[in-house]
Homo-oligomer: 335 residues x 2
Amino acid sequence: MADVAAAAGVSAMTVSRALRRPDTVSEEVRARVEEASRRLGFVPSRVASALASARTMTVAVLIPSLTNAVFIDLLAGVQETLSPQGYQPLVGITGYGPEAEERVLRTQLAHDPDGVILTGLDHTPGTWDLLRGLTIPVIHTMDLAAEGEHSDCPVQTVGFSQYDAGYAVGAHLAARGRRRIGLIAGQLDPRTRQRCDGWRQALRDAGRHDAALELMVPDATSVALGAELLERTLATHPDTDALFLCNDDLAQGALFQCARLGIPVPERLAVAGFNDLAGAAWTVPPLTTVATPRRAIGVEAARLLIAGMADRTPKSRENPRRVDLGFRLMVRETT
Amino acid sequence: MADVAAAAGVSAMTVSRALRRPDTVSEEVRARVEEASRRLGFVPSRVASALASARTMTVAVLIPSLTNAVFIDLLAGVQETLSPQGYQPLVGITGYGPEAEERVLRTQLAHDPDGVILTGLDHTPGTWDLLRGLTIPVIHTMDLAAEGEHSDCPVQTVGFSQYDAGYAVGAHLAARGRRRIGLIAGQLDPRTRQRCDGWRQALRDAGRHDAALELMVPDATSVALGAELLERTLATHPDTDALFLCNDDLAQGALFQCARLGIPVPERLAVAGFNDLAGAAWTVPPLTTVATPRRAIGVEAARLLIAGMADRTPKSRENPRRVDLGFRLMVRETT
DNA sequence: GGAGCGCATGTTACCGCTAACAAACGAGGC
DNA sequence: GCCTCGTTTGTTAGCGGTAACATGCGCTCC
């Protein structure tokens, strides 16, 4: 920067100003600095800038996994919103564990991010302590804080009601006249559990809940797992006439297995998935599922964060916001 | 750090040493510093550390897209290898464009990463200039530099031969006795083109190439696109008896569409995909495809990079390395 | 015609840590 | 008993920018 300053015949401070806020220097100086800067191939060091200005222009983004398309879409939304504003996402993978999350968060915080985006609300007490102590904005995604909850520590959430979405599926299957409605779930994170809770309540409200038809396993969801669990369900409860699979990859696996076993869908078995992942509209038959606004959640979380990072007065942290982006039941042909 | 130093009764420098290289201080001092550090909740600022030591402990990772599972797997491999070593990946999305790549690389370089991982070898002259000027290690992935190529600028590549993989599929379809073998490709990046080139050569070697059976479109691949392009192919060339789809999502879409149209696979039409994405083994019938070592490429690239970053003498950049991790033709039932 | 003001630029003092060198100290060798 | 050497700790001087304040200058205004 000193070299550029010398070449342009100004002070280093003026170079810094000319490049960051061109409107604060005279047109003539701006041009000279830009020319010198380009000619010398000057790239300002963000590290030094960060140290001097106490802004790193980075945002910590913690997601459970890279292999689940849901969080990739979330990340894509965050990334495409932050990037144009000059923010660099620092991706951290928590592996669905609150303890790992705390560990990852600690290492991310050492990088002094200007904001934090977390997945879910299921954090360790240590994580909550950390968050309480932060002076940077924090957004929780994919879930909504219950009204009044976390009153000791105002939180900003962007997501949708997993419970309501699960309820909607249960109610839909019941409304289709199904009597023996089963559940298949993997990857039992808090959000999956809430979906299951909603589904269960819907069936209870319809008077058709049978706990024996619930099959919940901790394994990561996959097409293979869906196929396997479908077989297991039909082996133990051959009279099952409808199934809610808590993620579309499970549902796709189940559909494949039905095709293989010659089970007509939806005539003999109705199938509903969750998330409306890529391809769900193209399965045979097209899959009924719940479209979730994952990318939009990422975009909105990033927007809120940018707003919070812009005004450095932490007043915005006072008013907890709760952005409900909803969900849509996509009724297709498997039900 | 000054506070910790005071609390432990030592100098700041000793605190720094005690925390970074515990073996260089006495046992007693180490314990006192650790205790004080913990008690005060001290978290060293990586920004300041980076500025003083000229190591940011970050690695720029540029991939074309977040919505293509291939690059997510690559990223996952990189991430899981870098993280335990204390490196933080900085993810940049290039959108498959060399110009965008150059732009993203420039902004990433402002963060002073200690290493760079790129996708492919298709860079702008400006990018090559940038890379030549760097004193940090750079790895190119998903492709292999031809022997002797880029002799002006030694490159390290980790990948497999896209050409050979395409050739293997073409040869396989020909060996199955198919006569009218078509091609469907989307997302025409250089790697896709190489696969197509290999496939084409295989068919020529078998005396069965017909350019009219090639359908190449620039759109991003998807299940929907596969279904659509299958129909288009059959409409114009109903005698097609085998198809290579350059990515598994296309192939899955084609399989779905075949099921819908009542076209028996593989009896009337053989189908081969590429990448062995999740679920390929579970389609109906299970999909013949090429398993590509995406995660392994990420792991190996990160390993090489770590080695290069460890010895700060840039001698390792002199010897271009070329790590071929191969591919596997997964013959299943669609062929 | 001089006070007062606004704008453009310069000066100073850090941001929080670490490389490099200096100093202090005890142990071993002759 | 003195010198050399290795080990541990301290001192100094930045790393490359930017916040905050200071300065200089041309104008307007009464």
